[in-house]
Amino acid sequence: MSNFKDAQNKAHPNKTNTLMSALIVILILNVSIQIWLLYTGLNNALGKNKDVALPAFIASLVLFLIGFFWLYFLPMGYREKKNK
């Protein structure tokens, strides 16, 4: 039975390349936002303005989870095909 991964692995390398680049760009964007969230949370916490720290953490965690499940969509190339 064919599934999403099989279909993705059989895709043209051009398509796979584009997908891979898009995934990495999104991940870099997520990490950039997280750096800003950490900086803001820390800066406000040190300035005795602690209310920002918790929302910043929640947003950061959500971004991490998005990035984590994003990895499922990473193309695997032709490795599977070779094993068979």
Binding site: Q34, L37, N44, K50, S60, L71
Partner: protein, 174 residues
């Protein structure tokens, strides 16, 4: 065949090409980004827990610093409050008023000093400038004002107590 005989033994023991050893695939790079993302989320969690459950101890009561005559106009005096290791600086401004601030720059904790006659507190490390009257940042990289203590005069004695929000608003910046 002769090539295989002449091949050094280490090549058989370690059959990995230099290009393979140094190559980082895009899959690995994406995974690494995810790891960094997890690290940043953990850092944010640490900040949130520290800010909400372990707030810094506030100074209670008044603490004697020195006699007023011991600090001339435009002069300063460093002091530490009992039971704390935070260095503070007491400033006798040229207009006769007194101010007390933490002596740690809010950028990277370098020791700041008062520049007599200028009304400015200077951090020499990265050229940070604070207003000596309010503790607000005037120029440079510091992100927050200097935390202030309130100075109380009792006759000839100078005392300090927990900071007055009116002197320096310790609000963070985004």
């Amino acid at each position: 065949m002769s090539d295989q005989v002449n091949e050094p033994h280490w090549k058989r023991d370690f059959p990995i090409q230099r290009t393979e050893a140094t190559k980082v695939s895009r899959r690995d790079f994406a995974r690494f980004l995810c790891l960094v993302s997890g690290g940043l989320a953990t850092g944010s969690a640490y900040v949130a827990v520290k800010a909400n459950f372990f707030p810094p101890e506030e100074i209670k009561g008044e603490h004697f610093v020195c006699k007023a005559a011991g600090v001339p106009l435009g002069g300063t005096r460093s002091f530490v409050i009992e039971g704390s290791s935070i260095p503070y600086i007491l400033i006798h401004l040229e207009d006769g008023s007194w101010r007390a601030y933490e002596q740690k720059c809010t950028h990277l904790s370098c020791a700041v000093y008062y520049k007599p006659g200028s009304g400015q507190i200077v951090c020499p490390c990265h050229e940070g400038f604070f207003d000596a009257m309010t503790g607000e940042v005037l120029a440079g990289p510091p992100p927050r004002p200097l935390p202030a203590l309130e100075v109380v005069m009792r006759g000839e004695d100078v005392y300090v107590k927990a900071g007055n929000e009116g002197i320096a608003k310790n609000t963070g910046r985004m």
